[in-house]
């Protein structure tokens, strides 16, 4: 065998692997004893330990409470935005999202409805869409004309709940619902007539007059100025869409349900039909970014809450190592390695913090459960909240990823706080430590 070919010989790796394994076994074995010393050390000065544990518990409680509130509130905001902008999942003709032309449609909504109806607890809205121009007596504006099914919109859609004047489309009504901001721009009122002009599928200019039945106001003035709502049948006539044709099908999920697996399921079910299935995450990077920003905000919250606790830890561990100077010397003389001295202190801090985290989590779980059942009614501030579109009752939301990030940040901070005292303790001159009775 040539020397060149021998480098991959498994025997070459056996030595380091077994050394690492032996190290791990050695570590775990001694961890039991170091952990025992650490745990008992906690209870040598119960008052000091309880103060620290309570501080951690209160910190964790505040963190979880705030997190559940902020996550709940922001989820409600995001959810409201998603509902306004076309649902958690949207299905449209292939390449419509990339280049939204009126010719790109779902030719037949029937199989799509069949595929969606088998999904549990999913609502959907079928919409037609076409760009057009809206004219009042003396003004004009470019708009997106949306053809909807009023009964279903009233049941699952967002806009019917945002009416500020007049009423949403009734089942038989031939009117139009427009944003309050658009009405103001066109100097139109509820009850007045406007004219919509649009290119039909065959390229002809098509126009029709509608009476404004209601005005809405969402969180986005931009949206309000550019979206108008008609009966689906009216849009079919105006543009020339076929009866079972749709521009998009918007799916709405229960709060907290992840869209991705459902989208995957739909893609499989609708394969070969020249359709595209996108989730809100695919379509709206801005909202995804908002979601990610929350995670960063969390870490900052933990850092703020635990900075004071960290300094308390540093302080009390500096006291602790000098109080235990003699026994640290005894342990080192007997063969405890410097790294093991550090581990005793790390374990002491981590165990104490774990007790605090456990207690704080228990308290917070109680609060969040109560709050989940009752909601936090902020109707006193509901004028302000309406502008955010979140609704006036806030429900907490526990995002385990955010909670885990928070706990990990706490552990990192605790380890950082103990690092210095632990390092100091492991560098003690043994003879000097022994000298200390």
């Amino acid at each position: 065998m040539s020397a060149r070919a021998a480098w991959w010989n498994p025997r070459h790796f056996l030595v380091p692997i077994s050394a690492v394994a032996a190290g791990a076994v050695d570590f775990l074995r001694t961890l039991q004893m170091l952990g025992r010393v650490a745990w008992r050390n906690i209870w040598r000065n119960p008052r000091r330990s309880w103060v620290l544990i309570s501080a951690v518990a209160v910190g964790v409680f505040s963190f979880l409470g705030t997190l559940a509130y902020v996550d709940g509130f922001s989820m409600q905001l995001i959810d409201a935005a998603i509902r306004l902008q076309g649902g958690h999942i949207q299905i449209a003709g292939q390449s419509y999202f990339e280049s939204p032309v009126i010719h790109t449609t779902v030719r037949d909504v029937q199989p799509v409805e069949t595929a969606v109806q088998v999904l549990p607890e999913v609502e959907y809205l079928i919409r037609l869409a076409a760009p057009g121009i809206m004219n009042s007596a003396d003004q004009a504006a470019g708009v997106m004309i949306l053809g909807v099914d009023p009964a279903r919109e009233r049941a699952f859609g967002q806009v019917p709940s945002l009416i500020t004047e007049g009423a949403y489309l009734s089942d038989t009504d031939e009117g139009i619902v427009v944003g309050a901001a658009l009405a103001e721009q066109l100097r139109s009122q509820v009850g007045e007539r406007i004219v919509l002009m649009a290119n039909s599928l065959d390229g002809e200019l098509s126009a029709a007059a509608f009476r404004i039945t209601g005005l809405f106001e969402s969180t986005s003035e931009d949206f309000d100025k550019t979206h108008v709502f008609l009966h689906r049948a009216e849009v079919q006539t105006l543009i020339g869409f076929a009866d079972r044709e749709a521009t998009s099908i918007a799916l709405f999920l229960e709060r907290g349900v992840d869209a991705s697996p459902l989208a995957t399921q739909l893609r499989a079910a609708l394969a070969g039909q020249d359709l595209e299935v996108l989730t809100w995450r695919d379509r709206s990077p801005l909202m995804v970014m908002m979601d990610e920003t929350m995670n960063l905000a969390n870490i900052i919250l933990v850092v703020i809450l635990f900075t004071a606790i960290g300094f308390t830890l540093i302080n009390s561990f500096l006291m602790v190592i000098y109080e235990r100077l003699r026994e640290i010397g005894i342990m080192m003389a007997n063969g405890v390695r410097p790294s093991q001295v550090r581990w005793i202190l790390y374990l002491e801090a981590i165990l104490m913090v774990a007790v605090g985290i456990f207690a704080g989590t228990l308290l917070a779980t109680g609060l969040i459960a109560w709050w989940h059942a009752n909601g936090l009614d902020l109707s006193a501030f509901s004028e302000g909240l309406r502008a955010f579109g979140s609704g006036s009752v806030i429900y907490p939301r526990v995002d385990l990823r955010h909670v885990a990030t928070g706990y990990a940040t706490i552990l990192v901070m605790v380890s950082l706080a103990v690092a210095w005292p632990a390092w100091k303790a492991s560098r003690f001159q043994i003879t000097a430590a022994l000298h200390h009775a």
């Binding site: 004893m33 010393v37 050390n41 003389a333 007997n334 390695r337 410097p338 790294s339 003879t431």
Partner: protein, 240 residues
Amino acid sequence: MHSSNLGESPAPLVDVNGLVKVYEDKSHVPVRALSGLDLEVQSGEFTAIAGPSGSGKTTLLNLIGGLDAPTSGTVTVAGQDLGQLKRSTLATFRLNNLGFIFQAYNLIPVLSAEENAEFNLLLQGVSKTERRRRVTQEFSDLGIEPDLFGRRPAKLSGGQQQRVAIARALVSRPKLILADEPTANLDSKTGARLLDKMRDLNERTGITFLFSTHDPMVIARARRLVILRDGEIASDDLRA
């Protein structure tokens, strides 16, 4: 150099060469605790180092035990030059080769007598049954009653604490036990009993004992007596 000559003494367990230790006192004046000391200790010795206070006994024992580094000179124990070892390997060397008994407060306050005695064995990775076996054996040899096994050091007398410390030093089967005035805090009866026990162990198992002491009882039992004066060996006598 001769090699493998009959009649030539084997490599010493402890070989101290030109050992110098200079401390700095509080006003940064150098204090010479050991000034170029040479000493060999053979395996199986039961040796006392005596001398006036400040003569360097504790300093010498600490350097032999690798608890401190010399200013110059070398300490070789069981063939290992201690100056070559890093802090953590030195710790492991102490764990596997040395036992320490100090004047008092030898034990870890949060551990029971039994847990203190098996402390080094746990670090060495000795199995639970073997730990129990050795600790029970050593405790009964040293006359530690079973009702004391679970007690913390604060609930033990000074003599009981010293016996637990001796048990801890013995159970890990070290080559050398370094005892710095082990009887200084004990009444003479308790001290005498423990010394007899240690000498008995030395005779039965061949473990080497090195004492530093002022105690005439220790000096009386030692088979070799080294007397230090001002950091130098003033006399070195083998005894009956």
